[in-house]
Amino acid sequence: MKMTQVRCGYLPLVDCAPLIIAKELKFAAQEGLDLTLVKQPSWSSLRDMLAFGQIDFAHMLSPMPVAMSLGLGGVARDIDVLMVLSANGTIVGVSADLDRRMQETGWSNTFDDPSAASQAIFAAGGKPVRIGVPFPFSMHRMLLETWLSQAPEYSEDRIEIVTVPPTKMADAMQDGDLDMFCVGEPWGSVAVQQSGATLILPGSRVWEFSPEKVLGVQRSWASQNPKHCHAMIRSIYKAARWLAQPENIPLAVEILARSQHLDLPDHAIDPALSGQFITKHGQTPEQMDRFIVFHQGAANFPWRSQACWIADILSRWHSLDRDAARQIAQACFRSDIYREALLPIGIDLPAASQKIEGTMAGPTTVVSTMGQMILGPDRFFNGAVFDFDAP
């Protein structure tokens, strides 16, 4: 088979595992792709490389393609989402100082209670809480605001959200530059080891099924290269399915640690994939189910309702027309291309391309192209429900 060379940009985080597995276990090669993974130092740089044609595909924060398509941020471009690479996977931590002040209010860390945690954060008093996120257009920032703004004591001037590159989050905590952070692994665990931070909440406790990273591509490129897009979707789908087998996890950790793409030791990779987290120095690990989801519950499906959820927040931040923003966002989440890629190889897909976000309390049976499939859970911590078809 003649191999096609494609380049995919990524940031060295554990959640780029499907890309690395697709390359290393030859899922990409089986689809005729000679996949080169191109490491990027920052989200801005990744965005520029994609917009100016230096890379074909990109491992992106889910709000980035929507923001770019809406003309927000440094570069405006029509960027499409071919698939979701991972759901969930962010983690919130606080400094040793804030942890101590939170405990003085009577709070104890259960690692799973958003409401108690936010109450303690605001009750701890003092200056506005300075919180680091990896990028302005990130699920991290969206989840943080969704969560904290629900606290009775919340007001806008009680928090200050700043952008700190993931690799520098632990340093910024150590320097006392931040009180709190929300970041992807391994940087949360690194902050625990390196700067005495305490992990207080996985992002999945705010929203049980948030689209975290997506596979982005320039719309014009996608329309000129449909075959490459299909091949890429198929290879990553197979890699994600492989990653979802619990018996493959030890091998996956090994492959990710050995590959030059991450440059992280295995003990830094293990927590995210095994769900075993040490929340504070010297404590025994806590088990967190569905910390990061690569495959289960149609995790790779680019739901148009997820795009709407992102669009609503962006239109609030930037005072845009909500309905126009939703329309542009929905057009980015290319469930049509995703179906074209996977239906011919007999993959079962959801029958609908959007859902009501936040209704599934547990695994739920829904109609699929081949009969029935199981989705969920996908609730929000405060029981919020988003029906984007509602008038």
Binding site: S44, F52, F135, V164, T167, A172, D175, W317, H318
Partner: protein, 194 residues
């Protein structure tokens, strides 16, 4: 005209920073500040209120600048120059030179352009010098490693220097590897066996 532009350069590498300052000074811009520490970036932008910020495209602190550009109603919002895509040639030139620029106070385009052109030219030059230097260093260290491997072979097998090199080269060809890789493997193995 040019003197009153307030330029901030974010660059960790001292030599590179000096090169850029010199180039800008030569061009008549005297109001140039350099910072190397990333944690100071946010504060510096607020205090210094620069007109234009020059930063390496690969610098991770760019994400922090992007965020400052998103803060609504802030007095000084840095805006990536890519926003203004009327000048595609300049944008591509900046990207290939590894430079990104942020314009802060809605500066007019005709005043940005000469700054960028100067910076792009110097960025390219520094980059080229750097890669030449790296290549030279690499070549030197490769040669040292190959010499050590040859030495090991000469002693262990009692062959001449030419024969030793021939053996390394043949092994590399047979295994589809580079001579330096075979040499490194041999030296590492010898060290372990000592």
């Amino acid at each position: 005209m040019q003197i009153d532009l307030n330029i901030l350069v974010v660059e960790r590498d001292k030599t590179k920073a000096h090169e850029i300052i010199d180039a800008l000074m030569d061009g008549g811009w005297n109001n140039v500040t350099v910072i190397s520490s990333p944690t100071a970036l946010e504060r510096t932008v607020k205090d210094l209120d620069p007109d234009i910020i020059l930063i390496d495209l690969a610098n991770p602190d760019r994400d922090t600048l992007e965020h400052l550009g998103q803060v609504a109603n802030a007095r000084n919002r840095p805006v990536a120059m890519f926003v203004d895509q009327t000048d595609e040639v300049m944008t591509q030139a900046a990207i290939s030179a590894g430079l990104s620029a942020y314009v802060v106070n809605g500066l007019q385009k005709d005043r940005i352009k000469p700054v960028l052109e100067t910076a792009i030219a110097r960025f390219r030059m520094v980059e080229k010098m750097q890669s030449e230097l790296d290549a030279a260093k690499q070549a030197l260290s490769d040669r040292k490693m190959i010499d050590r491997a040859k030495g090991l072979l000469i002693r262990a097998r009692g062959i001449s220097e030419d024969e030793a090199y021939g053996l390394l080269r043949k092994t590399a060809m047979d295994q589809g590897r580079k001579v330096i890789d075979v040499a490194t493997a041999l030296v590492t193995a010898a060290e372990l066996l000592q």
